[in-house]
């Protein structure tokens, strides 16, 4: 399946911070066919560093989509049956308007002049896209991690437009620990002199800071078990007498490689803006409580968490499930066994596929 990222353009988008962003571009991809009743559309919501290219092979660079194992013919999100949409988030750097986009007021990149964005802002832009595609009700909104936050926001902000929601390895708001890791990442970027207060688009990015931030991120996405299995204490070949601060262990090599690679595909300011959006997100705010927020939703829910995920531990998924149960809403919940930590929702797809597939089929049957 060869796919191409498309763009939709809008005149403006009102933001939670009070500012109006204008104009706005959103990059998106679609897979499968929209049926005549327009009732088979599913919106996939990407995690922090994802993009619109969720499935298939990119015409642009030949790369496989970030959730290709889950989206495609006969897969969990079966493109033979459903019309699947994925877009890059607001504030991102993969085609959707973000801090690296051109600021029409100055003719240069926004940099730190980009307004603060929130998860509800991201979802508001996605709603514009979905409206633009002529879809009034989504069969499902689904995503892991930050994608799960957006799925929750969709279900609460647009109850009439969402038949079901699938938040995976997610939370309705960040814990102190999650905020803390994000803050270390942000500080790594901002303490790199090349960051230059956010205005580096002409001088070159804060590559060192951004790669350190990504290294920290990768540690939090894995688990003790998965790191032990993948690297153990395996060492790199080296001169026995040398004893410096070069790469000695495989795990160091891996993190440096991942950090370096990230710099080529991700914008440091997007890192700052999007992690802040995640940290500031609290589904309950404005509704008094999580229960108050979820009272609005009319969606069915499938909530999934993973045993070894210590970044988004199962208790956070269970908080959502309990609040839904408090309204006796239709919710299925399963904690899947996995050693992959937070990465599990991207790599441990066997059981997840079965759950999602059947849940969607059932939702489609009920909605028809």
């Amino acid at each position: 399946m060869i796919v191409e990222t498309q763009c939709a353009h809008f005149d403006s988008l009102p933001l939670d911070c009070g500012e109006m962003l204008s104009p706005v571009t959103v990059a998106y991809e679609t897979y499968g066919k929209l049926n005549a009743a327009r009732s088979n559309a599913i919106l996939i919501l990407h995690a922090f560093s994802g993009d619109a290219h969720a499935a298939g092979v990119s015409r642009e660079n030949g790369k496989l989509g970030w959730w290709d194992s889950m989206i495609g013919p006969q897969k969990a999100f079966d493109t033979d049956r459903y019309f699947v949409i994925c877009s890059n988030v607001l504030g991102g750097c993969r085609g959707t308007t973000g801090p690296s986009s051109l600021n029409p007021a100055t003719g240069r990149a926004y940099g730190s002049a980009f307004p603060v964005v929130t998860i509800p802002d991201m979802v508001r832009l996605q709603k514009k896209l979905v409206d633009h595609l002529g879809i009034s009700r989504l069969l499902a909104v689904a995503g892991g991690s930050m994608g799960g936050m957006q799925a929750l926001q969709w279900a609460v902000a647009y109850p009439e437009a969402v038949a079901s929601a699938i938040p995976i390895a997610s939370a309705y708001r960040h814990s102190a620990q999650q905020i803390a890791f994000n803050e270390v990442g942000r500080m790594a970027i901002m303490s790199d002199p090349d960051w230059n207060g956010g205005d580096y688009y002409e001088s070159g990015p804060p590559a060192r800071g951004l790669s350190v931030a990504r290294m920290i991120g990768h540690i939090t996405y894995m688990s003790d078990e998965s790191m032990r299995e993948k690297f153990g204490r395996r060492q790199r070949p080296k001169d026995e007498l040398r004893n410096g601060f070069d790469v000695d262990f495989e795990v160091e090599n891996y993190l440096r490689y991942r950090g370096g690679e990230f710099v080529n595909r991700f914008d440091a300011n997007s890192y700052l803006y999007i992690t802040k959006a995640m940290d500031n997100f609290d589904l309950s705010s404005g509704y008094g409580s999580l229960s108050g927020a979820l009272a609005r939703t009319k969606a069915r829910f499938l909530v999934i968490s993973f045993t070894s995920d210590w970044l988004y531990p199962s208790y956070q998924s269970q908080e959502i499930v309990r609040a839904l149960r408090g309204h006796n809403l239709d919710v299925a919940y399963c904690e899947l066994q996995s050693n992959y930590g937070h990465d599990a929702f991207l790599v441990e797809v066997g059981e997840q596929t079965e759950l999602v597939r059947h849940f969607l089929a059932n939702t489609f049957k009920k909605a028809a």
């Binding site: 069915r300 499938l302 909530v303 269970q318 499930v321 309990r322 609040a323 149960r325 408090g326 309204h327 006796n328 239709d330 919710v331 299925a332 919940y333 399963c334 904690e335 899947l336 066994q337 059981e351 079965e354 759950l355 597939r357 059947h358 849940f359 089929a361 059932n362 049957k365």
Partner: protein, 210 residues
């Protein structure tokens, strides 16, 4: 013959080991809201959805079984019964079912009270520890009873509370419950005489006395 009528005897046969399921499926009213505690692979709930059009919810502790339920389209969540009911609003179900699990819960009385809080009526099925085979086994061997009904060694049994029909009757009185139906089973036959001695499984339909 209607589809349901042809299916029901098959269902009973298929679940001979769980003859209580057949009884429960008779007690549950069409189109009602049902919560099944310890719903296993969801066979009872799936049957009730298909044949009685109920709105079904389930709780199950085993992840593999929860997955099996969700794959059948059932809204089941993974959790334990002892802690699991607190989130539900009062009287949000027409029937709350506890099938052969009461003896496995840590706090049976708390579970029963919670069931009565969230459900208008409750259906409780349990193995009768007062069955003659149990009494005989204990009397003759002097050891913890091990029978067809309770095939476990004392140390690996999931059953942590042993109750009899008579015990349950007394509890119903003490808790001010109205027994709407009581059905006693030995294999798949109904027992009417001397249930505390002859019933292997008891199925009760109860509600709070108004």
């Amino acid at each position: 013959m209607s589809a349901a009528a042809t299916q029901e005897p098959t269902f009973v046969r298929q679940l001979l080991g769980r003859s209580d399921y057949a009884i429960i499926s008779e007690l549950v009213e069409r189109g009602s809201k049902v919560l099944d505690l310890g719903c296993g692979d969801g066979e009872l709930l799936a049957w009730l959805v298909e044949n009685k059009g109920v709105t079904a919810r389930g709780v199950e502790i085993s992840p593999a079984r929860v997955q099996h339920c969700i794959m059948q389209g059932l809204s089941v969540y993974q959790g334990d019964i002892d802690a699991g009911l607190a989130d539900y609003p009062d009287q949000c179900f027409d029937f709350v079912i506890l099938s052969q699990t009461l003896q496995e819960t840590h706090h049976p009385l708390r579970v029963l009270r919670e069931m009565l809080r969230v459900g208008r009526r409750i259906i409780v099925a349990f193995p009768n520890f007062g069955h003659w085979s149990m009494r005989l086994s204990m009397l003759l061997t002097g050891r913890a009873p091990k029978t067809k009904l309770f095939p476990y060694e004392w140390y690996d049994s999931p059953n942590i509370h042993f109750l009899t029909v008579e015990d349950f009757e007394q509890l119903a009185v003490a808790e001010n419950l109205e027994v709407e139906r009581r059905i006693f089973l030995s294999a798949d036959r109904r027992v009417r005489l001397l249930p505390n001695l002859r019933a292997q499984v008891a199925v009760y339909l109860l509600k709070k006395k108004s």
